[in-house]
């Protein structure tokens, strides 16, 4: 049984307010889809122009760490969904643990990504580095440009997502989450988007030519 939601201006009915929040967030997701869509367009252009060189560059991406991260993020989506449903039904203990697990998994993703970056840098796989192994090779250079750019942008999105999830935890500690479970609902929507983007990136970055 869900608790009576807290109303904020300019809304007078709970259902309307929830509808607006979800609708607004979907509009925001539309902008995100166009934003990432642009990058996927760049990716397609770059890969079509030099598929062989692209695959040569991609061969150096760390499949193991990429896959581990995929699993971490997919699991975090599940835990956050559980938390959201639990918050809606007033099962606050499950909600709390779901949120904590999501935070842990999301942070773990960033840590793994950090290790992966360190390894990439140790192999000089940064296109602007003076000893970049693929200097002068179009496809591989563009792969690595894309890799750095998109993973950094994704990591920023994920960090913002972590902030939003942390806010849920804070709401839970203050005891208002039960009455503001719509916040959990929209946070989950955003988190799913960040996950789906990664789910697309995983094959595009790690499975090319394998």
């Amino acid at each position: 049984m869900s608790a009576t939601p807290i109303l904020v201006e300019p809304f007078e009915e709970a259902e309307r307010q929830r509808e607006a929040m979800v609708f607004g967030l979907w509009l925001f997701l539309a902008t995100e889809i166009l934003f990432f869509g642009g990058f996927f367009f760049l990716y397609a252009v770059a890969r079509m122009q030099d598929p062989v060189g692209f695959a040569r560059g991609a061969a150096h991406a760390n499949l193991l760490l990429g896959t581990v991260n995929t699993i971490l993020l997919m699991t975090s989506s599940a835990t956050l969904t559980i938390a959201e449903r639990a918050a809606r039904d007033g099962w606050m203990r499950a909600a709390r643990w779901g949120i904590v697990f999501t935070l842990v998994l999301g942070t773990a993703f960033l840590v793994v990504k950090g290790f992966e970056y360190r390894e990439d840098l140790a192999e000089h796989l940064f296109p602007a580095a003076p000893d970049f192994p693929f200097t002068g090779e179009t496809g591989a250079t563009r792969f690595w440009s894309f890799y750095w750019f998109i993973t950094l942008v994704h990591a920023i999105h994920l960090t913002i997502g972590l902030g939003c999830v942390a806010r849920l935890l804070w709401l839970e500690r203050r005891g208002t989450l039960a009455r503001r479970w719509m916040v959990a609902e929209v946070t989950t929507l955003y988190w799913h988007l960040v996950d789906i983007v990664w789910l697309l990136l995983w094959p595009l970055l790690y499975l090319v030519g394998r």
């Binding site: 201006e9 300019p10 309307r16 509808e19 607006a20 609708f23 607004g24 509009l27 925001f28 539309a30 902008t31 995100e32 166009l34 934003f35 642009g38 990058f39 760049l42 252009v45 122009q49 030099d50 296109p127 602007a128 002068g136 090779e137 179009t138 496809g139 250079t141 563009r142 440009s145 894309f146 750095w148 750019f149 942008v153």
Partner: protein, 555 residues
């Protein structure tokens, strides 16, 4: 009414409005009231308008003579970049939506506020932060890439503050996205009882169509700007031809945003003009439904014509053909609007107030701007005219003659509602006429210059172009004076203007059913809509006195 009240905040005892509800600076800066946010936007936008205008004045002064004597080449390049960046992103894009739109949209649909008031406030702060970044780039020494930031000039060759400016534009994009999301959600979810889609005033429709474009185009701009930052800051080669990047790809991404952005600037203007013409001609808008569909069609096709900016950029001829075709198609809904505004005047009872003068000026200038667009959509003619002053004149007819005229018209039209004061009608008419002539004087000669081949962004030019440039620069002086005039009489109106009644124009929209200025929550009672918009009666039907039916009155 008390006769001795002076100043904007002086009120009848016991009367409250959104203006008197808290008078501290804090109550303004942290307000989530859409009306106050509109005022915050209006003040900051005015500031940017005059910064951009000062740059334009200096550009025109330099072009009085063929030699570069007033500024150096480098200063000139920084001036036109500044003019473009400020005017496009910090004035035109937010001008009507963030000020008039913010103020009026909730009033017009009968809501207490926009759907996400805090997001609305955040949008203003993002705008200010972005403005600080961009102004910092300017104060440190400027940017010399042009507002288009074409690569590889902007990424590899420019030694100016591209990074700061590009980041500023990236941030200002979020401010327009926030406004867009807010407006769409407001129109979808906060329409009051009886306000069906086909009863929405055209201004609300215009805001809706604009918001769709804002939400769907701006992310691509964000991406383009981030890529420029990445290439400059991190050296990631995306557009660098030496590393196999493609500089033309940037143009595709850039225009994918920037062409729809033109519609972000002109659709709101169309909305404003529809309101003014219907009210001042006392006539139902001719072909209301067609007007709505035309706006939506413009918003959609606007996404498919970006390639007409690149007919000489080396894209495939087939692509050019398709883009040319679609550009001709988008002329049709624009033409429909012009015909419908003209048709609205037919059998009207026309009042030539200052807003109406701006609106009629808009129709003329927009028509000429649109017609010259056909020249630029024809490939062979465009090859000759692209990157010449013809293009400059064309988009200034749309942006300044169109969007700015409509903005000024709207500002006058809703001034009594916003401030509760009347302005001096005779000064305002004088300014409107001055601006119309000043504008044509400035920009018409540029069509001729363009046909003769004078390239844009030239700091020096061959002497045979001088006569037209002198004409244009002289007109610019008139225009600059014209733009200063409203500052004066609006300021006077704020302090000493006559108190405005709730509905001084006898208009039909919901915004006129509440007090001037409106109370904090817009309406004392949520209004109920009973009538379609623009129920201005035919002259001889007028039932004893009032010749209009407001939307909250029964038909």
């Amino acid at each position: 009414m008390r006769s001795d009240d002076t100043g904007l905040l002086a009120r009848e005892p016991g009367e409250t409005s959104y203006l008197t509800e808290g008078t501290t600076l804090r109550s303004w800066l942290l307000s989530t009231d859409h009306k106050r946010i509109a005022i915050l936007y209006a003040i900051s936008i005015t500031g940017f308008f005059f910064i951009g205008g000062a740059a334009a004045t200096m550009i025109r002064l330099e072009l009085f003579t063929p030699q570069g004597d007033f500024t150096t080449a480098d200063e000139y390049n920084r001036l036109f970049t500044l003019h473009g960046v400020i005017m496009v992103w910090f004035f035109l894009v937010p001008s009507i939506p963030a000020t008039l739109g913010n103020f009026l949209l909730p009033l017009m649909v009968g809501a207490k506020d926009v759907a996400f008031p805090r997001l609305n406030l955040m949008s203003w702060y993002l705008y200010i932060i972005a403005g600080i970044f961009t102004l910092a780039a300017l104060l440190l020494g400027g940017v010399d890439t042009g507002w288009t930031f074409y690569t590889p000039l902007s990424t590899l060759y420019s030694n100016s503050y591209v990074l700061l400016a590009a980041f500023g534009i990236f941030v200002v994009g979020f401010s327009s996205i926030a406004t867009g999301i807010n407006f769409i959600a407001t129109v979808h979810l906060l329409r009051t009882k009886g306000m069906t889609w086909m009863r929405l005033p055209l201004f609300a429709w215009a805001m809706y169509a604009t918001s769709l474009v804002m939400v769907l185009a701006t992310p691509v701009l964000a991406m383009a700007m981030l890529l420029i930052c990445a290439e400059r800051l991190l050296g990631l080669p995306i557009f660098d031809p030496r590393a196999g990047g493609d500089p033309v790809l940037f143009q595709h991404i850039f225009w994918f945003y920037s062409h729809p952005a033109v519609y972000i600037m002109i659709l709101p203007a169309m909305g404003v003009v529809s309101e003014i013409i219907a009210c001042e001609a006392r006539r139902r808008v001719f072909g209301y439904q067609f007007m709505v569909y035309a706006m939506l069609v413009i918003a959609v096709i606007g996404f498919l014509v970006w390639g007409h900016h690149m007919f000489v950029a080396g894209q495939s001829p087939f692509a050019s053909m398709i883009f040319s075709f679609l550009s001709f198609v988008i002329a049709v809904p624009s033409a429909i609007k012009v015909f419908n505004w003209t048709g609205t005047l037919y059998r009207g009872s026309i009042r030539f107030s200052a807003p109406m003068l701006y609106a009629l000026g808009f129709v003329g200038l927009f028509t000429l701007g649109g017609l010259t667009g056909l020249f630029l959509a024809s490939i062979p003619v465009d090859v000759h005219l692209s990157d010449t002053y013809f293009v400059v004149a064309h988009f200034h007819y749309i942006m300044v003659g169109g969007a700015v005229s409509a903005f000024f018209g709207g500002l006058h039209f809703w001034w009594p509602k916003i401030t509760g004061r009347m302005y001096s009608e005779s000064f305002a008419r004088f300014a409107a006429i001055t601006l119309f002539f000043g504008f044509n004087f400035t920009f018409f000669p540029q069509f001729i210059l363009g046909y003769l081949g004078m390239p844009r962004r030239y700091h020096e030019y061959p002497p045979e172009f001088q006569v037209w440039n002198v004409m244009s620069s002289t007109g610019a002086v008139v225009l600059a004076i014209g733009y200063l005039m409203p500052l004066g009489y609006f300021a006077y109106s704020l302090l000493n203007g006559k108190r405005a009644s709730d509905n001084p124009w006898e208009a039909t929209g919901l915004e006129w059913t509440t007090s001037s200025p409106p109370p904090k929550h817009n309406f004392l009672e949520p209004p109920v809509v009973l009538t379609e918009p623009y129920a201005y009666h035919d002259w001889d039907e007028a039932p004893g006195g009032a010749d209009e039916t407001r939307q909250d009155e029964p038909a």
